[in-house]
Symmetry: C2
């Protein structure tokens, strides 16, 4: 019998939750007697690498396909965000905090989805419900996931449950949340020497919205001007990827983690749907999203509503 | 703001869980401060009516559509099993123990699905997790749902969690599980004076399996011979409904709740898929399913596997 694989979404370099929740659930399942391994669908981001290093954890093994193993999914459920052969394997569990779509099973399974800011918040409860102590390193990476997903509690996706879980995890991990959180978020904002095509791929998700396929990428920064200076490079990379993959519409959120606003770059059509959904004006492919920091809560539902006619 | 409606699946006269879980979740949500109402998509079965009467509960109000209310779904998630306008309303929660299919939301929500025998088993845990005491009548109807879904713990869908929840609920409800369970199951097996077309409609579900639409009805009995004596009447009713609704295949499970086997009547095509999926021989539209009592665990996954090519 193969080990059960615990898998976060594609592009794990989007946030720390994909890898943090995989490590967190795998540790819980192992404590409960299952033969499991946390794996990933890509390399960790600079932010996640910082967190793993800080708590002495190795990056999970990167896989391309899961068969013949059964799988548990964390931080996603939509099949286009999952492992390539997801339709060929048995999904035993899903722990997630996103909408449910493009997900189907042949048999009953265990699903725990809650409208909180981070999968690791749900996992923190599950450890308690099962009477399992969270090891220090796992508490550290799970805390990092909550800080990452909620932008240190500044995102509108953040709930009281996230704050409570983070406080509990910080005590176990032995770190000061604000100090550690600031260092973590700054570690993740470096553009580095990567070309625009690599940078937009770090945190990218595709969504079917009515008849349209929409790609939404997000990058976080402490210096929006630095990113916008390279806007032509980003437009070119977005257009190339849109054409190659057949997306109708491609949005890039450039989120300032200090100001908690986002600049938005748009290529493809219908641009009017973006304006209508978000209440912004797009000029030369650019719009400013006052207070917009969450793709999941402030972009996807609104755009789905407009496009899913 | 309209009350939130807590809704079980169509054909609530299939089992007691659709109505029992709606009452159980509504009572928990009310205790936690939400403005909710348990409703139903049809009249209770003889079995459910027996349980409601026994514990002094009224049958939930029957609704046709839910808008403009938000909804919470219990004991189902597939849209074709839900309220007619399910795609027009916001689903806030799903508590269920079935496979996930044909379910999609625009925004994050709360989902709790576990591979246990009954939704009310999950609800029993949720009361405990939230520190809410279960009132006696609610404990009684939730216990009835577990007895109904697990055929008094004889179904292969029954888990240790179902047995533990039932014991806890029986203590609160103040009944002997075996004695009450036997009375409950017998109350539900009476064919009565209804025509075959009504009887097969009591517990019917439709499933998309690959290119085929399959209808699977189930009735429970303590006297299979009595039902099989009327087989021509059942074949005629099944064929009429298949043709009217455009089903490809129609299966009727006649489940003996004492012997824990099922006779199976089949109309439509492909019959060979039924034989292959269930390992039975269909002769003159009839097969015998040794040990088959669960549509969800012993029919739907196997038939989906064969038809979903």
């Amino acid at each position: 019998m193969s080990k059960i694989l615990v898998i976060g979404h594609r592009n794990p370099d989007t946030d720390t939750d994909a890898i943090g929740a995989a490590i967190g659930l795998a540790s819980l399942e192992a404590a409960l007697g299952s033969d499991v391994e946390a794996v990933a669908l890509g390399r960790p981001s600079l932010e996640t690498a910082f967190a793993l290093e800080h708590f002495g954890l190795d990056a999970p093994r990167v896989i391309e396909t899961a068969a013949p193993s059964d799988v548990m999914l964390v931080d996603h459920n939509e099949r286009q965000q999952s492992v390539a052969d997801i339709t060929d394997v048995t999904v035993l569990k899903v722990i997630d905090h996103h909408r449910i779509a493009n997900f189907e099973t042949a048999a009953p399974l265990y699903v725990r989805v809650e409208p909180v800011g981070c999968t690791c918040t749900i996992l923190t409860r599950m450890y308690a419900e099962n009477g399992v102590d969270i090891p220090r390193a796992e508490a550290g990476i799970m805390l990092s996931a909550i800080i990452s997903d909620t932008l240190l509690f500044n995102s509108p996706t953040c709930t009281d449950a996230d704050r409570a879980a983070a406080a509990e995890l910080a005590a176990i991990a032995g770190v000061d949340v604000d100090e550690y959180g600031d260092a973590l978020l700054r570690a993740g904002t470096a553009l580095g020497d990567d070309p625009a095509s690599t940078i937009i791929g770090r945190d990218s998700k595709s969504f079917a919205m009515g008849p349209k396929t929409v790609r939404v990428s997000q990058l976080t920064t402490v210096d929006s001007a630095e990113v916008l200076d390279r806007r032509d490079e980003f437009f070119a990379a977005m257009t190339a990827e849109k054409d190659a993959a057949g997306y109708d519409l491609y949005l890039l959120l450039i989120t300032d983690v200090i100001a908690c606003d986002s600049d938005l770059l748009v290529v493809g059509e219908p641009v009017t749907a973006v304006e209508q959904a978000l209440g912004v004006t797009v000029a030369d492919g650019h719009a400013f999203g006052k207070g917009v920091v969450s793709r999941k809560k402030q972009i996807v539902p609104q755009l789905t509503e407009v496009l899913d006619v």
